[in-house]
Amino acid sequence: MEYIHFAFTAFYQFGDAFAFLVLSAMGLAVIFGMMGIINLAHGEFIMCGAYVTVATARMGVPLPIAMLCGSLAAGMLGIVLERTIIHRLYHRPLDSIVATWGISLILTQGTLIVLGSSMAGISTPLGSFSVGNYSYSTYRMVLLGVAVLVLIGLYLLFHHTTFGIHSRATIQAPHMAKAVGIDTGRMYSLTFGLGAALAGLAGALYAPTISIVPTLGANFLVESFVTVVVGGADVFLGTAPAAATLAVIKAFLTGWQGQLMGQVGLLITVMVVIRILPQGLSGWLLKGRT
């Protein structure tokens, strides 16, 4: 019995870390991993998703629908920003750091001015369950499930829908994609919007579990960049294994040496991975296949 409990505990901790890394990194994996835009406003898309979710949920909208609203709102925001600003920066990714930093400042402070310094949150749904002497939050297992579903969904989206295939074609070889008739400008907008919507979804899903303040996005930023950099360019082959690897490292180090080592361990892993595998895990996995 003890072993089963221990195994479940390990699984739960791993799953929790995995879900957090996957969900917070997905949007960035699309925007940074695929499109090469270093999006420092990633956290603000997450914040947007969380705010809209909480606001709509408090208006009485059922939580899942509120979350959808949050995600869509972030996606919309993403498309607007892409059309107005980001599309000018595709050929100079390093400048995108400064521009998205500016956007991040505007969104954070704008939220503070308009909506105040904090917002009352909503309860985590679904209660808890027990295994042995330990009790666990059911919702966090749901998050794991959602993370896996989002991964599968994205895989299907990018590999089995016209949008996904066109988007990948656009990002792999924009000239050729244009020449076969794809409106690449529109694909860039939509792909960026998808990345923003995924970030918004992360915010929406975590909204019940965190403080709702304008700066909440910053919590997610470092972890998501770490995951994407370790993962490399491919959303599915990169982000998922990277999140799994990092979740193991993080859960292990946090459990063994505390939260500080969990944090430091993640960052050191990035440095080691870049040194050994400059293309990230997906670059390495893909190379093994050809």
Binding site: Q109, S117, G121, S123, Y136, S137, V213, A218
Partner: protein, 411 residues
Amino acid sequence: MKYSTIQRTATLSTLLAGSLVTSASANDPIQIGVLEDQSGNFAAVTQVKVNAIELAAEEINAAGGIAGREVELVIYDTQSDDRRYQELMRRVLQRDQVDTVFAGFASSSREAYRPIVNQFDGLAFYNNQYEGGVCDANMIVTGAVPEQQFSTLIPWMMEEYGPNVYTIAADYNFGQISAEWVRQIVEEEGGEIVGEDFIPLGVSQFSQTIQNIQGEAPDFVVTLLVGSNQASYYEQAASANLGLPMASSVNVGQGYEHKRFAPPSLANMFVTTNFIEEVDTPEANAFVEKFYERFPDAPYVNQEAANSYISMYLYKQMVERADGSTDKEDLRAVIAEGDVCFDGPSGTVCLDPKSQHMSHNIFLAKVDENHEISFPETWENIEPYWLGENGCDLTQNDPSAQYTPSSPPNE
């Protein structure tokens, strides 16, 4: 008469301005610099401090000012950025030549500006509950310190719930030093620390921590979490059905978590604080009412708001007792008399001449399942004794340092 907020344009400054002569005539306003974080990470907690200072200034001006002089506030937004404290502290002291400064939320901000206050030999009020230990003649601290909050809270909790304590604390000065206090008191009282977890600032995910706590099965948990990220712990612990009583010196009283999180995530939380808006005394109710009348959109009146408000009146009293002088040494001479007290929102409080910290009435606030607050216990007039007992005596000398239990001043 209305106070005015000065946000000065560059005056054609004279060479005279370079010197620090404050040859104010009796009719010049008394200027008070206010450096607080109205943007950035800490804005949620500190905006009300500015409001409280504004409220006090209006009241004082309406009642004829300080020693007959109008109060003028010079307010800057420090953006939760320590460097802004450095820049703006110099500005208020050197250019605006304020008489005193009310400044700072984070301990790091205080430490960043303290050398500058020392350089210019200014006088600053730090109106925050903090980890304690600042022994500096240029600082007056009105927030509660660990000995005031923990020497009351921990024994009460141990008696009520049992001797096994688990501490989770922010992994920086405040958390580490507070945890040290908790450990010391628990051991003195014959209890046991069954576990300690330190959480880096900015961490918002607590599954592992929650599990560690369950593994040790303590009688209650001391939560010394800081910032909006770490406050996420409560919701996550509740959703994992941790169900343990909690004790804190910092949450609720400062960040009004019971208002920001949906019930029942903070159920069974016990907090020692010198003020929160739920305190049900005539003075407190009057203050809260005035506050919301003036600032109807304020999210919450927390302990820092009360401390800031009290500080204004303490300052008024000190200046008036020093015959209208705002000179730091004159004011300290008044403090040295040992009876600078004020009967305000949180009851009667006094400044301790040795440490220039403030005595407090400590309320034990209990959060119930509906996030309603009750007060099972109140301790009156708890002194900030630790610095004085350990050799900090600002009436004798000024080390301008911050001490911790593991490195006290008399070592």
